[in-house]
């Protein structure tokens, strides 16, 4: 191994001696190795399809199946339901999301008591005293239904949804548009009602729940434009994204599918391997044999090829442009 890398370094030196100073590291031996790796198009295509289905982009998934001439893998049927739930969460309509999640539950759906299922999820949410008047089924049957629910098997997920619902209520209360000049103080009664009926009964079951509830309620006290660093993320829409992601993962698991798209593991292994390789052999991690370039560009739009890493702007969508490949010193 060391023999081969030494050999490659010598080659680089000879070919680009005029442009490369002796003190500079020799990044191109590694770049050459990168270029020599073979990629299977069908593997890459399946990674794309896997992502589109897993993360819920049904229209793109259908188009891709057609354009790439491959079959859509995974449970296409569940996509539209998952997308509706995700969209409800992203739009802040948590009540709809919770109802749809309970409708979604694959086990419940298979039972004959389908029509009652959503009602029982609500019974679950509503505190004890409500529960008697709503209970036409025996305790055992009810437990059976509740046990198979995505949310019931994951109290933390359920709590995070309810807390998000509380946050959305607070957002409506404190947003400037809802505060008319005639009523200087916004009406926070719905917020208090929701917190005391839905979240307060659950809070004692976990210190995290209690802490989350306390923090959330603090949003009512501080002005929204001057929140502390611990509180401001609660009003950031990133929280909706995070909850939507967690819900999607829980639903996929309940369907017996992979929790996350493969591409996530791919970018993580990329980040992990680079970090490990840069640690070097001295820390017991067994670093790279060949010296790595200072920066490994992904070749995405907006990357400086000299390692400056400047990015023009932040956006969720790429404009599809391709940055040209790095010039390779081996090819002259």
């Amino acid at each position: 191994m060391s023999g081969s890398s030494r050999h490659q370094m010598i080659t680089v030196n000879v070919q680009s001696a005029s442009t490369m100073s002796a003190a500079k590291p020799l990044p191109h031996a590694f770049e050459k190795k990168v270029e020599d790796v073979k990629v299977s198009k069908s593997d890459i295509n399946s990674v794309i399809m896997d992502y589109l289905i897993n993360e819920g982009y049904p229209s793109a998934a259908r188009k891709f199946a057609k354009e790439a001439n491959i079959e859509a893998t995974g449970d296409i049927e569940s996509i539209s339901e998952r997308v509706e739930i995700r969209n409800a969460i992203l739009a802040g309509d948590i009540q709809t999301a919770i109802e749809k999640i309970n409708d979604f539950n694959p086990q419940v759906r298979r039972t004959a008591t389908l029509a009652f299922a959503p009602v029982f999820q609500l019974v679950m949410i509503i505190p004890e005293f409500m529960h008697h008047s709503y209970s036409p089924l025996g305790v055992d049957e009810k437990l059976l239904l509740l046990q198979s629910s995505v949310l019931d098997t994951d109290p933390a997920l359920h709590f995070s949804l309810l807390r998000l619902q509380l946050i959305e209520l607070i957002r409506t209360c404190i947003s400037p548009s809802s505060t008319s000049t005639s009523t200087p103080a916004p009406d926070i009664t719905p917020v208090l009602n929701f917190a005391s009926t839905q979240l307060a009964p659950r809070a004692p079951t976990s210190p995290t729940f209690l802490n989350d509830l306390e923090q959330t309620m603090a949003l009512l006290i501080f002005p929204p434009d001057a929140l502390s660093p611990t509180l401001s993320p609660l009003l950031d829409t990133q929280l909706r994204r995070d909850v939507a992601t967690a819900v999607n993962q829980a639903m996929l698991v309940s369907l017996g599918q992979r929790r996350e798209a493969r591409i996530k593991s791919l970018v993580r292994v990329r980040a992990w391997a680079e970090a490990k390789a840069r640690e070097g052999g001295t820390t017991g991690g067994g670093g790279a044999v060949v010296k790595l370039p200072e920066r490994l560009s992904l070749g995405l739009d907006g990357e400086g090829k000299d390692g400056s890493g400047g990015v023009g702007g932040v956006g969720r969508e790429g404009n599809g442009d391709l940055r040209e490949g790095e010039p390779d010193a081996m090819v002259t």
Binding site: E67, R268, A271
Partner: protein, 511 residues
Amino acid sequence: MNTSHRGITQDVIERAPPFTVDDSVSQLPSRWSDIDKWAGLEITGDGLHVRLTGSSKGTDEAAAVRADHPMPRECGIYYYETTIHSRGKEALIGIGFSARKVILNKLPGWEEHSWAYHSDDGYIFRCTPSGRDYGPRFANGDVIGCGVNFRTGSAFFTKNGVNLGTAFNDIGRDKPYYPSVGMKKAGDYLQVNFGDKPFVFDIDGMMRDEKAIIREEISKANTSTLHSPFDESALIQELIAQFLAHDGYVETAKAFAEEVRDESRLLKTNISQGVRGNDPEEDVDAIHRQQIRASILEGDIDQALKLTSAYYPSVLRDNENIYFKLRCRKFIEMIRTCSMLSSASTFPRKPAPNGFSRKGKNALPQEMDVDSHFSGDTDNWDSMDTEGSDTNAKYSSLTRETIEYGQELNSEFSSDPRREVQKALQDTFALIAYTDATQSNLASLLEVSGRVPVAEELNSAILVSLGKSSSAALERVYKQSEALVSELSNSGGAGAFINIREDILRDDPSR
């Protein structure tokens, strides 16, 4: 246990990317060395048995042997087992490993750069004649295993399938170490298993545990630095969008951008913060490339050639091999159509031009077979008339055309000196020998999936001609990951425990 440890080890080594072809693909220990041994030891049974024939003289004197190859660090954990055959109860045997230069008239473990577990006292010896209490003693009939974890730099021993725990944890990566055993009593002999047979100890389970540790580490990797300031999900969306645009999946790219935009819009409902949501730019080249790809995927090679020479005249000129592949593919497509016509007709018909005639009663099951074989592939089917006489007429004229085209193709490339070109020509032309080539052993050439690599190769060539990278950023991420992991495993690090292709790209949730 259904797989041997060698299976795992081989997997790891075989996945090494092509750039390590020279001297770096390590060979596994496969037998005891006939040369690297002390006199008095006799190696038999394909090099897997070692016996002490002479008697040793002094108390320190012993005889040791090393394996033919060192333990490869790329395998992450190296493990081998020995079965003890001794005459007396008091065997004096050392099982372990040592560096090349270590003298062989001592038991391994007593000398510098050698480590071993000894039978008479159950002690372990780390490069010194004074040992340390470690495990039980061992004797006739026991199976002793020795394993080295190169990631952690530690070694362990097993007795009859039971792990005795970490013995050493300072195994350096600076030099190669060889499996080594030594013995003192004449008549004692050892049988080794370097992985050809299943091990008594569940090494696969240990490998799985190690892999789980690494996967856990990977799942927590910080991806925010990869394309700062993008977070992980933004980076992934960017990678997907860039791939779709780069590879010319125009419709998918549009649909994806739209869906992502809709998603962002939802977030903005009651928030003033503006999020960029512009249309992906109309990329004329992307559309052209998509048209060309679609033509090839539909089997319409003429159309692809026409479009390519119209939009990118230099590409076919500069990439003669791709031009050749397209021409061959056209021939294959013609044969495909012939095959479908020949099996589409259920009527008895005239002998095919090569004199081979099929009986009508055979045609039906074959037709059904072909039908299912090409299900979902409806090109050329829609327009096809299954009226017998009409089909036969079409069939003959198409066969004539195919042969003429084949002759043309042959005259154009028969003088090409390249061996792969001649081989491809030969294989392609062989198809003409069959009335229904889908039933021949060359049927794989006719598979629709064969269009994909041709389409991809042409697409890459067009991209290069446009001054763009031939591979998308997502592919680059994959390539970089493979190269980095290969570096990590070559140096005996954590890379040995992850196989990107198998563990990530083809990860199956049921596993």
